[in-house]
């Protein structure tokens, strides 16, 4: 039973390996770096039609067009950033999964930091307050002694 499971697993793994190889064969590259750039870009660029999919993952017509364009641009010797800029020129910031820092999006970076700082501030504030309460002066000591003596006296009398 166990051996059969293992064989099944191996077969599945082999099949998936051959599938991914078939997908890679479709695109020809001059160098390993170009292939790497292409793979990174198709994962980072977002399909404008099937939103929430990158262009490597999507079967939409526009995703295929964008993949082909990325390939052409890489073959022409463009850098990764140049390809990204080319796409943003046409499809807007939406097309890239990394949003740019603009006045409208700055809150995405600032808000987490502000929350962390506020949280720490709150903790420090509370600790200081608690420390203040624990201050024990000589007067407090005298008062305590007095109270104890009073109480002891009361106990003796009763």
């Amino acid at each position: 039973m166990k051996i059969r499971n293992v064989i099944l697993l191996v077969v599945i793994l082999l099949c998936s390996a051959s599938f991914s190889e078939a997908a890679e064969d479709k695109y020809q590259f001059k160098s390993k770096e170009q292939e790497q750039t292409f793979r990174e870009l198709t994962l980072e660029l977002r399909c404008p039609k099937c939103q929430n999919q990158n262009i490597a993952d999507s079967d939409a017509v526009v995703a295929k067009d964008l993949r082909d364009k990325v390939l052409t641009l890489i073959h022409e010797g463009n850098t990764k950033q140049e390809v990204i800029d080319y796409m943003i020129d046409r499809y807007g910031y939406f097309v890239h999964y990394q949003p740019p820092v603009t006045p409208a999006t700055i809150i995405l970076w600032v808000l987490p930091v502000v929350i962390v700082i506020l949280g720490f501030g709150f903790i420090v504030f509370r600790q200081k307050k608690a420390a203040k309460k624990q201050l024990w002066s000589a007067e407090d000591e005298k008062m305590l002694e007095k109270l104890i003596q009073q109480y002891q006296r009361k106990e003796r009398h009763s």
């Binding site: 404008p48 039609k49 939103q51 017509v61 526009v62 295929k64 046409r90 939406f94």
Partner: protein
């Protein structure tokens, strides 16, 4: 006093989140804007859909305010908006079609026949109304990519100088026309 404000803080955060999420419910994520807004129409040199000899470039379109409507007979929403667009044409709006073809691509179609396509387009336009002055055939979807088109139907409003003023994703109907296109058109008219 301080304590009272602190006590209200969770409530304020709650209200803020409610407003934020409520807006998200009714926002349309497909309403995308091209990166080309405010820029010139990209240069192109493409054939006419109906004739092999005729070619169009972006310079042929200068001097008129016009709509460029991206469409295809394979797209039901495009067919549905033909009627309304035809009424706009009758009101004097110049509409140019950018024909977005899929079947030409071996990944999406088995065969492509330009004559069959012309017949189909002619039949469709005679039935549903023909809003187009002419149609530009973008077989490789190069102009579509340069314009930031993600599908069909999409419509661009371009002024006399060839600057892209508006980009609309989805069909054009009376509501969209009144709210989105008319204000910009009226502004253009008052400038002249």
């Amino acid at each position: 006093m301080n304590r009272k404000i602190l006590g209200f803080l969770p409530f304020l955060i709650f209200v803020f989140l409610c407003v934020f999420l409520y807006q998200g419910l009714f926002g349309n994520p497909r309403e995308l804007q091209t990166g080309r807004l405010g820029q010139a129409m990209p240069s192109f040199n493409l054939p006419d859909l109906m004739s092999d000899q005729k070619r169009w470039t972006e310079k042929d379109l200068l001097g008129d305010v016009y709509l460029m409507n991206v469409w295809g007979t394979w797209c039901p929403t495009c067919i549905a908006e033909l009627g309304y667009l035809t009424r706009l044409r009758e009101q004097g709006v110049k509409i140019v079609g950018l024909y977005y073809e899929q079947a030409y691509d071996p990944d999406f179609g088995d065969h492509f026949d330009i004559h069959a396509l012309r017949e189909e387009v002619q039949m469709m336009l005679s039935r549903a109304g023909n809003p187009y002055q002419f149609n530009i055939l973008d077989l490789e979807r190069t102009l579509a990519l340069d314009l930031g088109v993600s599908g069909a139907p999409e419509t661009f409003l371009v002024n006399k100088q060839g600057t892209i003023l508006l980009h609309h994703t989805g069909d054009i109907n009376q509501r969209v026309w009144r709210n989105k296109f008319l204000p910009v058109l009226e502004e253009l008219r008052s400038e002249n």
